[in-house]
């Protein structure tokens, strides 16, 4: 009985079901970008060296470029076209925020494209739940 609870607790704590999914993700843990850090940079007008791209339904983050949901090939083309003029060593931060990472259809194709195009500092904004919980509810800067 005790073993059962230990196993059960361990499974809950490690989220073993998620592990397989995360292993296939194109980003690494250190390529996740902390929302608080980005919010501070935007508020202090220190965004000259970064590019912030929305690859989801709506570019809610102040100063971000609206590419559109990159689950659609048309928007992947748009992203590719936009990135042509961006230096490869520039820090490029993408975000969607529709859904938890595990269910988001947009961030994987976009991040993969960044890597395929040879960008040295591709970043994914760390919005693990969604943009409401992890950005709007914290009163971080928005586009209006």
């Amino acid at each position: 009985m005790r073993h059962f609870f230990m196993l059960f607790t361990a499974m809950l704590l490690t989220g073993s079901g998620m592990y397989a999914q995360q292993k296939q993700d194109p980003w690494t843990a250190d390529q996740l970008y902390e929302p608080q850090v980005l919010a501070d940079k935007i508020n202090q007008h220190q965004t000259d060296n970064i590019v912030i791209l929305c690859v989801g339904p709506d570019a809610l983050i102040k100063g971000s470029v609206d590419i559109g949901p990159t689950q659609e090939q048309g928007n992947i083309d748009k992203l590719k076209n936009y990135l042509k003029n961006v230096p490869k060593d520039k820090e490029v931060i993408i975000y969607c925020g529709c859904c938890p990472f595990v269910r988001c259809p947009n961030i994987r194709p976009a991040f993969k494209l960044l890597k395929d195009m040879g960008f040295k500092n591709p970043r994914l904004l760390d919005l693990p739940k969604n943009i409401k919980m992890d950005w709007l509810d914290k009163n971080y800067p928005t586009s209006d």
Partner: protein, 169 residues
């Protein structure tokens, strides 16, 4: 030792459920909703008083929400007599941004219940009013507009509506 593990497991399991529904609780009045249909006409939740109302928060960009639409369709058709008698309605509230996507999905899923949206994605005030932490999410309001169920899905949702409508025959 056993007790500790049990307690830990219990805390983890219940913790996430409690977090979801801070502002929307059974017994409270459902916050007012006043949003446009695709044709621009405003529908209010308060105008549906007297009916059992399933408020379905969804979006076309949410895969599990799309998967749930045929289930809602089945519930709606099963109780179509109650709908016609003014005793039941579904109010779909979309957090879409793109009107075309929204309208195409309404057609694709053959949705004939009420559909409203301000096309503001997660910025919609309704997401705040209902303290929505993720989609799909739903609330059932009784004929007085009081919340009687929160976030039921699958069989639990269908059973709840069946039981309620049969009980109030």
């Amino acid at each position: 030792m056993k007790k500790i593990f049990f307690l830990v497991a219990l805390i983890i399991l219940t913790g996430s459920v409690h977090a979801q529904n801070k502002a929307v609780q059974i017994g409270q009045a459902a916050p007012e909703i006043a949003l446009p249909q695709p044709d621009g006409n405003i529908v209010t939740l308060s105008s549906l008083k007297g009916k059992l109302v399933l408020i379905d928060f969804w979006a076309t960009w949410c895969a599990p929400c799309r998967e749930e639409q045929p289930e809602l369709k089945a519930i709606y058709e099963k109780h179509i007599d109650k709908v016609k008698a003014g005793k039941f309605e579904i109010l779909g509230v979309s957090l879409d941004k793109n009107k075309t996507h929204w309208q195409q999905s309404i057609e694709r899923f053959n949705i004939d219940w009420l559909q409203v949206s301000d096309l503001m994605f997660w910025k919609s005030p309704v997401a705040k009013d209902y303290a929505i932490e993720g989609l799909p999410f739903n609330v059932i309001a009784d004929k007085q507009g009081k919340i009687i169920a929160v976030n039921l899905h699958g069989e639990a949702l269908a059973d709840f509506i069946n039981n309620y409508l049969n009980k109030t025959e």
